[in-house]
Symmetry: C2
Subunit: 796 residues, 2 copies
Amino acid sequence: MTTTRPDLPAATADEIEAMDAWWRANNYLTVGQIYLMANPLLREPLTPEHIKPRLLGHWGTSPGLSFVYTHLSRVIRHTGQQAIFLTGPGHGGPALVAAGYLEGTYSEIYPDVREDEDGIRRLFRQFSAPGGIPSHVSVTTPGSIHEGGELGYVLSHAFGAVMDNPDLLALAVVGDGEAETGPLEGSWKGISFLNPARDGAVLPVLHLNGAKIAGPTVLGRKPPEEVRSLLEGHGYEVFEVEGGDLPGMHERFAETLATAYARITGIQDAARSGGWDGTRPRWPLIVLRSPKGWTGPDVVDDVQVEGTWRAHQVPLSGVKENDDHRRMLEEWMRSYRPDELFDESGAPTQLVRSANPSGELRMSASPHANGGLVTRDLDIPDYRQFARDVPEPATERAESTRAIGEMMRELYRRNPTTFRLFSPDETNSNRVGAVFEVSDRMTAERTVDIDEKLSRDGRVMEVLSEHNCHGWLEGYTLTGRHGLFATYEAFAMVSASMTVQHCKWLQEANRLDWRAKVPSLNILLTSTAWRNDHNGFSHQGPGLIQTVLNARGDVARIYLPPDANCLLSVADHCFRSKNYVNLIVIDKQPQPQWLSIDEATAHCAAGAGIWDWAGTDDGDRDPDVVLACAGDVVTMEVVAAAQILKERLPQLRVRVVNVVDLMTLARPRSHPHGMDPVRFGELFTDHVDVVFAFHGYHGAVHQLVHGRPDADRFHVRGFSEEGTTTTPFDMVVRNQVDRYHLVIDTINNAGRQVRGSSELQRWCEQQLAKHETYIVEHLEDMPEVRDWVMTTVVDD
Amino acid sequence: MTTTRPDLPAATADEIEAMDAWWRANNYLTVGQIYLMANPLLREPLTPEHIKPRLLGHWGTSPGLSFVYTHLSRVIRHTGQQAIFLTGPGHGGPALVAAGYLEGTYSEIYPDVREDEDGIRRLFRQFSAPGGIPSHVSVTTPGSIHEGGELGYVLSHAFGAVMDNPDLLALAVVGDGEAETGPLEGSWKGISFLNPARDGAVLPVLHLNGAKIAGPTVLGRKPPEEVRSLLEGHGYEVFEVEGGDLPGMHERFAETLATAYARITGIQDAARSGGWDGTRPRWPLIVLRSPKGWTGPDVVDDVQVEGTWRAHQVPLSGVKENDDHRRMLEEWMRSYRPDELFDESGAPTQLVRSANPSGELRMSASPHANGGLVTRDLDIPDYRQFARDVPEPATERAESTRAIGEMMRELYRRNPTTFRLFSPDETNSNRVGAVFEVSDRMTAERTVDIDEKLSRDGRVMEVLSEHNCHGWLEGYTLTGRHGLFATYEAFAMVSASMTVQHCKWLQEANRLDWRAKVPSLNILLTSTAWRNDHNGFSHQGPGLIQTVLNARGDVARIYLPPDANCLLSVADHCFRSKNYVNLIVIDKQPQPQWLSIDEATAHCAAGAGIWDWAGTDDGDRDPDVVLACAGDVVTMEVVAAAQILKERLPQLRVRVVNVVDLMTLARPRSHPHGMDPVRFGELFTDHVDVVFAFHGYHGAVHQLVHGRPDADRFHVRGFSEEGTTTTPFDMVVRNQVDRYHLVIDTINNAGRQVRGSSELQRWCEQQLAKHETYIVEHLEDMPEVRDWVMTTVVDD
């Protein structure tokens, strides 16, 4: 039985004085970042020359953020609690930069920004300036795992960060603007998936200052009892602090935070000492109502600013030209009494520093927020042990995703606290249910007798929310753990914007030496467009490929393994990689298996290769045509088309090329995986027509091969937005990427002169007509719907 | 003062008998759709030959849906209430198809599916079968404006449908799986934007049957008092009905629905008679707890099915092979007593029919759900009246989006109840604030003295939720009204999946004669990648273009007007159009104006054209190079590059082509706007190098020009994911799409042999070096940051 942690003492007057000084220093530095390029400590009267020419930044939310920050620092100083601070209102950038500066972390990371007057001058100048730092809490901000620019994800990041991180407290400030977004509203439920015995805690602070850019917020205007009811309905114990009075707010917030912290330790201590009855704890949550632009200008030009949306950005806009505004700015900044906050040299005074925790307990220096520092490599089993036996191509069928399910089962076994699978309720549906042999689904809510594989000790994360799955995995990997997000291909677009933003984060992180590399974000898309024949058109969309295609090559990877063994090889690579978004696309339905594990390994290492056995290319000279494919279902159609050609037009020399790593098609200057011209020519020649069957939209291949020799010879078929509830084979026919259309394409592009081609084309057209009749007659006579026969690759 | 509507009478035993018969008939038809291909009325014993070979469909949610449906029909019969039914749990397709069939609508629309035994046979066969209908509530389902496949949007669609639709009640069933998604959780707040005097009402029914595909739901397992607290926190008055007992459930639900309906009419009558105090009403909401798979098999193979996730899809899976299962199926179907439900011919009996409302009051026949029938064309002012005076190119600067703001101001004036603007709190920021001269922002929450342009009578819809903006506009247009969704370009990706799904909806609708065309969904992307220099990298992303590019040409349009007058011409076209998703991309910052309104009209009608005045192309023969552009900022850079070339390399014949309608670049077979080869050649020739500056990712142009003559000659620069907080000009330099890089590209591709080109290249490199020094020095010396000078198009 672990010891129950003691309650925090009440804040002393000295502590409040120190916190207030730290807070004033932070506000001072925040205002300075927005306005000043010189005279940073106001050691001379403010003149227009000291003012930045372009005033950028967001004042409104900042004082509230730094207020919460310094109060949490007090808790840390007393308890040694490991904590990170997540800033939902991204526009509070300057406050968090100032926090890192006051804690000394900023100067440690960026030595040019010293702890003296010149350092403060640089701190001010660099903010929101070319060559400097962005206006948001961003990758460059020490202590951050969350870029606040696109709103909605702060809670899901926080919950991901504390999963399997029992000693971590993640305080997440939710702005009331952000609280209006769907993804944020959907993320309060994180506590329904948190186990206090083995996970850390999230303390949300809903910061209601009442306004967004140009008007009030919904929660800011709702009756407080409704807000309370809402949050209690989400399962929280709600604490409220309201006002702008000082030091009253310090006293009340310190007390409330101490109570909330005691609740957290109480819940955790009980759970960790066996005193938990298993019901979902009512975790604490703080609603902080403080004025927007708190401590800033009250009234400007006879208009109320503090407490309104007008304080959102730059409350005094005319400071360069307008003497009155400039005087108000100077008064405002001096109201923080900078002489008490910075010493002669410009360094923070002892009073200010006394509010800081020390070392890695400073939130700006937390290794949890630089997750690469605490990453343990995954213990990965030899993927060959999950290999399918494939003595020769297309003799076996298998549900390929089961292989990665088995691999993940072993990942769960070997890495019990550093690996998780995230999925919208589709683990079994996606055929990766082998993980349930080791871990249950997680719930902290009530369970009943008939539940299967569901418990509070589970680590398989199922929630019907792509936003939560993606956000939790981001938080989990950014704090140094590993995982995979598996989802229906079409619905990956629900969280596409998160994928884009995470790519941006990684790209920025790559450029910062001090950011240690973190495990990649792995996304497995299954239940793909081609095999959602049962679910219909809404479930058919390969759009995420197109989205990831435009991320930069140093962070984005797209893999289309055609079978289970290739999937294993790809997955092994992805699980070992760092700082990437790895997109893996493969279906879950039974499908032919092509390569032995050794062949698959070699094929995936190359990224693309010739499948000799499938074509009639003798290798001595260029083929007449290349049939290329990327994606499992279309690979089957290409192999079938090649077989038809082999049997019925044997004079035509056909080469079959399969592409696993889509970005090999790009030119090397566009993507590091891009094949060099020699290798590209070895596969595709420099002049032979290529009939390319692609899993996704054909434009993706068009854009990739642009600039390759005679790119127009690439005739691409892909998903052309034709779908419904139908047979699997009808899906490929509707999109003209079936074997018969591919043969006709081949003839039209490269085989018109070969004897017998007209007959073959006619035969293909007959097959298609037969198919159409079959589909139409089906309605009338409903003959047995034959499954898409795949025991032989050609099926008439 | 309008009359207060009377309360509903309690349901009589006869009414309950009729509703129960209708419900049994619906359940019977639902099961039949999933299982049977023959013997539809079980007039002979069930044999394997009667069973479909592939069992598809979702039983679990269906009986609850039809239960609610028939009860609402009773309300309609008594009150004449116009109502539509939105099915959040999309998998309930067969229940809603059956509803339309029992109401007679199905046979009216699809005459092959008659009201007799053969009709029922066809109804069964077509379901989830090739050539038939999809498994979800879909476009083919009469009475639907909502495809349930991708979860999360049912409430936002419902709220959009009732805005400015005072006589409409939209009942929206929210499944407890869907209730876990972020977009759904963010959409409860619709009532904070509803005015009971002029808008209709949404009645949400949260249908908690406790499970999704493979496990329980969060709300299904939360303590009921928490669920109530949550929904009350969203502002609703919560009514709860629970159980599976009959006829008790009928009695209790009828009573609850009558009470809820009385609340709605009470709220509306008060508001419409001046008796509303202006506080946001507590609208009613029903929580229905009924067993998943209600009335279906209880236990199968000794495993509990009813009430668990096992009832989600096909509860008896082995009916073809397994005699026991088949016997259970027959018992199950016969338990509905089909002989009482269908007469000798197979038509629904009078008892069943007596539960139907009549005519257009049948929810499956509501014209609101076939919005083209009730669409009134917008009264559109002559867009020329908002034209900017542009005597010659680039002499004026303007914030172009102000023009569409003024146009929308007039749309609000002329179409007071059929036009709305939807935006995430960015109306002023996006410079379309002219609308506030006519309409306020809408809120139903508390307002205070200092609020500006905010009232319960407002029709400008600002909510910080792209999902709500998009969803409301979808609901608004699908019920026949007009609007525009304006948002920051980067954050349009938040709702990208909704854009994809709406394109799919329109594509399907185009193929159904009975679906009248609805107003287009217009999306204005502003605050673009190039001019979010102040907000930074997270705000910089042109991804939605790439997403819409892959929608089919018959529903998707992408416009990149380069200035205000082109924007007006494009907007006029979009507001008149039907059944499209129109994507318009233009920035809000001051920018040069190029064309007079007459020139703009002609230019936009053509979609792309040569700008003679910008180049040195004499038109007599092919130019040496084409400088092409699509997008406002890059157009400026191309014009500037052309001017540099004109001045410094006058021998080079340069043609400038501007593209407004992006899809003109596609081949005609790919998109109806695609230029024919002759026209394409007139602009781009068939061999001259084209240096193309594009607003979005360069791959978009690559994929569009694939297959055009010698497509490799298109050298495209675009947004290459390089961004931060910086100067506007640095943004284009970082992405190498600035004037100097474009000149260097031109020289490298087409001007190497021209005398003076090396000098010019060196000069350009010097300019770029100067820029870089400037950026770097900036940090040190912070000289005045010059704005991106645009009074002349070339700025050294």
